[in-house]
Each structure stands twice: as structure tokens, then as C-alpha cells.
Amino acid sequence: MGVKLLLEKAHVEGIRSYEVYRREGGYRAVEKALKTMSPDAVTEEVKKSGLRGRGGAGFPSGMKWSFLAKPEGVPRHLVCNADESEPGTFKDRYLMEFLPHLLIEGLIVSSFALGSNATYIYIRGEYAWIPDILEQAIAEAKANGWLGKNILGSGFDCEIYVQRGAGAYICGEETALIESLEGKRGNPRIKPPFPAVKGVWDRPTVVNNVETLAAVVPIINMGGEEYAKIGVGRSTGTKLISACGNINKPGVYEIDMTISVEEFIYSDEYCGGIKNGKRLKACIPGGSSVPILPANLLLKTAKGETRYMNYESLSDGGFATGSMMGSGGFIVLDEDQCVVKNTYTLARFYRHESCGQCSPCREGTGWMEKILKNIDMGKGKMSDIDLLWDIQRKIEGNTICPLGDAAAWPVAAAIRHFRDEFEWHVKNPQECLTRNYGLANYADPLEVKSEM
């Protein structure tokens, strides 16, 4: 059983309510921070913890906090990014739905560290029932003196507001989120200036993911140094993984980043193996935009070493033979899945979600979708595969925000590792409509476990 810091109390009856959460030791981090620590000391602990942004980019959170500009007389804001929209990712929803007070507690401590008197939770619009849960938790926290004026006599005032988005993946990008919070179209801003200097309403702003802010609670409770001892290397602490696809036990798991990918997929504590006794074909380990890996490269690195569920190991080999931890959206594909079709649905997703501001993304995503659809329908040409490669290459790195990269990487990785499957689609236009390519030579080297 691995260490649990966030989900430790997830199964305590009634943990959603303030009373139970408090009885289980909740809000100790607020007491500790506001009564015994200075805002800078809190930031220092987060730095020491080695916590990295859990939204996908993995940027060190303490460092991000220390970049926040603090000009005299200008209010600063903390914004919680709850616009969880990366396909394969549903961990923040779990936290907010079942442990709302953990997030509120993390927000209070973080707001104190950053000097944010008005903190906003920007939640994706489709999670329409969750704002009610969060607003109730906020009301309970306020009624018990954890929010409002002069919290715990510290002189620190704080209010938390929940703002719903209205259906736009791009608002997960922090400057698009800020635009949306200002009541505008979710067009990402051109940087610099960065939000740390000019964010929401041109005020210095920090935008952090839900899980990142929740992790501040155990960091303050146990101390940054202790937190950093969990995990390995620069992958400190625990990480929530939302596992889905063709596995026996899809769901949200907390891991301490020392377990192997193989253990994560096959052990009963986590995914419980591939559904229906099938074999593993491929996996997108960190949300739809990170490179897809064939089974043989997923379980072992190109050097033949065991691959682990952490930032460094998952990216071992770069994009040539590795992938990324991303947002922790772990999508498993079994032997019956078609990589071409899967890539097509992802390309369609990114075309649908492009804001349309810059030309490579606006035009390129739609072009890739159309070509992939053709190949999937048996209408592709051999030259289309090279064309796709060239299009993704011209999008990647040339756009205003990372959505361009996010759209390019899945296509690039699918062609890189599964080119034979694309070619098979082109060469067998009839057959590809009736059956899938199957495992080919990138199969999981493990034997199918026989029924016990």
C-alpha cells in the first residue's frame, strides 16, 4: 500500500461535510500557517517540497509562487485552475466532488502565502453540479472562521469565489483562463507579460491546478522536507492518476511515484489488468496530448530498464522512445483498439477546441483531422502519412499557446510508433473497415494472465 496524502480520508463516511473533515484533522494546515508562519515561510516550504504543477506542465510550484510580482498597493490574486478538460483526466473532479474541504484548505493556505484576498476557482462549465458542493464547503468554512475577515486573528482576509466556465478546453491554459475569468473569449494571451506580473485585471496572478493546491495541505502539515522524501528524484510527493480505457478498474489513484508502470496496470491495487483478458497494445500515460507509447516501450525504456510512474522515467528517451507524466490521465488501449481511429478522435478534439487565434493551430488542426478521417475510412494515400508528419511539425512550437503542441504530439507519436498500422489502413481500404490491425509487433511482452 503506497503513501496516501490526498486521498487518505476519501473513504471516510461524510468527509464532504465540514464536521467530519475537521474531526479527521482538517484545517490544521491553516492553523499552522496562519498562526505560526509568515507568508514567505509557507512559500519556502512549498519550494522545499519540490512540488511540481499537477496540471500537466510540471513546473516547480514554489518557484512559480516566488515569481509573483508584489508592487505596493496592487492587489494580487490566486486562481485555482479547475478547468480539467484534457481527455483522460478526471482527477480534479474527484478531489472537488469528494474532498471539497481539502481544496478549500489548500486555497486558504496558498492565498495566505501569496497575499490573495480574493481567490477564484475557475471550474469547467460541464462540471455543473460541483460548484454547489464547493460553495457549500466555502460557506461552511466561512461559518467556522476559516474565511472572511481577519482569519484566526492573523489580520489576513480572504474570500473564495467559484466561477463556471462554459465549455472550452483552451481555458485550461492559464492566460486563456484569465481572459475567460474577465468575461472574454478564451483566447490565450501573448506572453510576456506573464500572469505573475500582469494577470487577471492586469494584477499579479498565480494560476495553479486543483491537485497542486490541495497538495499544499500535506506539505504544510508534514513540512516540505518530509514531503520531498516521498517519491524519487525530482518527482516528489504523491500524484493522482486517473486511469481509463480498457482496464478492469478505471478510476482515480494516488501513487507515490515509485511504482512501475507494469505494477500500476496489472496490480489489483490499481488498474487490475486489461479488461476481458485482452493484451495491452498501447497507452497514453499523461492525458491525450502526450505521446502514445506502444506496450513494449511503455513497460520498459529503450534501454531495457523498468519504466516507473514518475516525471523522469515516463519521459526517459525523450519523444523518440518516451512520453510524459502530463496531467496524469492514463489511457490504456487493448489489442482490439485502432490507433488510427484513436488519433483521429483526438485530432477532432483539438480542432474543436482550437480558439482560432493563430493560423497554424486554426488551420492545421482541421487539416490533420480531415486527413486522419480519410485514412480511418480507408480513403487515405501513402503520401498522407508524410503529409501529416509535416503538418504537425509546422504547428509544433509555432503557436501562441501550447494547444498547438498538444495537437501535434499525439499525431507525431502515433505515426512514429504505429506507422505500419497507418500503412496497413492505406493498403487495405476495405479490410480496415471491418477489422482492426491488432497487436502487430509492439505487443506487451507479458503473457496473458490465465484465469485463476
Binding site: N246, N342, F349
Partner: protein, 181 residues
Amino acid sequence: MEGLFLSLFTFHFSLFMVPFSEEKLAKVQEIIARYPEGKQKSALLPVLHLAQEVHGWLSAETMDYVASLLQLEPIEVYEVATFYSMYNLKPVGKYMFEVCQTGPCMINGSDDIVDYIKQRLGIGVGETTPDGLFTLKTVECLGACGYAPMMQLGKHYKEHLTREKVDQIIEECRKQAGQLN
């Protein structure tokens, strides 16, 4: 209850714009108070949600009304309302099935669910049944990948969909609509 009544009302008289109730107007003021002074534009997304709750969709008249509430130019509201996928710019059925079709749902059989709903309701994607009860829409990832296939129905998610479960949901909707009439 009032909201439901109004949405039925405006469905039939779509050009007729119903202003917010006192209660909704108070809510608008409460939302505006969350932001710094003069930044009431920030309230645009939440207020459009409120308007859609009342009317079921956003007509140009409704958007103009929202613009006047927040002291914005109408074009600023149109620009925003057309950007986000959740705002309905045309009348929709009373029950909108928004079925996710992105990667993780697709590999768990969302295509089959969409086909089945089409067949059951006799409509295509993007269409509304003649009785105005159901609209079918396909949407991109809703963040319920572990519980696929799934769809959004109003405020909530319907997850782990099967053909049987779809039958059941359609039945429940019909029953609920019948009771209201």
C-alpha cells in the same frame, strides 16, 4: 419550478424576451460584487448561464438584455456566447443528450451509444425530436473518461452507458415530462 415554466414558455415564444426575476437580479448583483469595481464584465459567463437557465437558450434579445445588465456592448456578449460550446444559440429540446465521443469514450463504445440513441429517438446528431422533448448532440471530452461511455443530461452526468441504460433514461425523461404537463 419557475425556471422550468419559463423555459417551456420561451420555447414556444422564442422571440419574446423575459427579463430576470427579482431573485435573479439579486443574484446578478451578488456575482458582480465578487470582482473589483468596474470589472463587471467578469460576470458575463455566470450571467449567461443564469439567462440560459431561465430561457433554455440565448436569443439575441436575451443577450442584449444581459449586455444592458452588465453595461456592455451587445457585440461583446455575442462574441463570448458564440465562443463557448455550452451556450445554446438556438432553441433545444427539453432534454439534451450530450454524448462524449473523444478517445477514451470512443474506445469504450460511444459510437454504438450514439447510434442507438439516434435509432431510439429517430433523429440525427444536432436534431431535436418533433415533440421538442429531446435533442441529441455529440460533444468532446467531458472529463469522465473512467466512467465511459457517458453523456451530460442537464446539470448531471449519466455514466457507464449501455443500451439498457439509455432506454431507462429516455423512459424517465418521458415520464417526468408527462408529469409536468
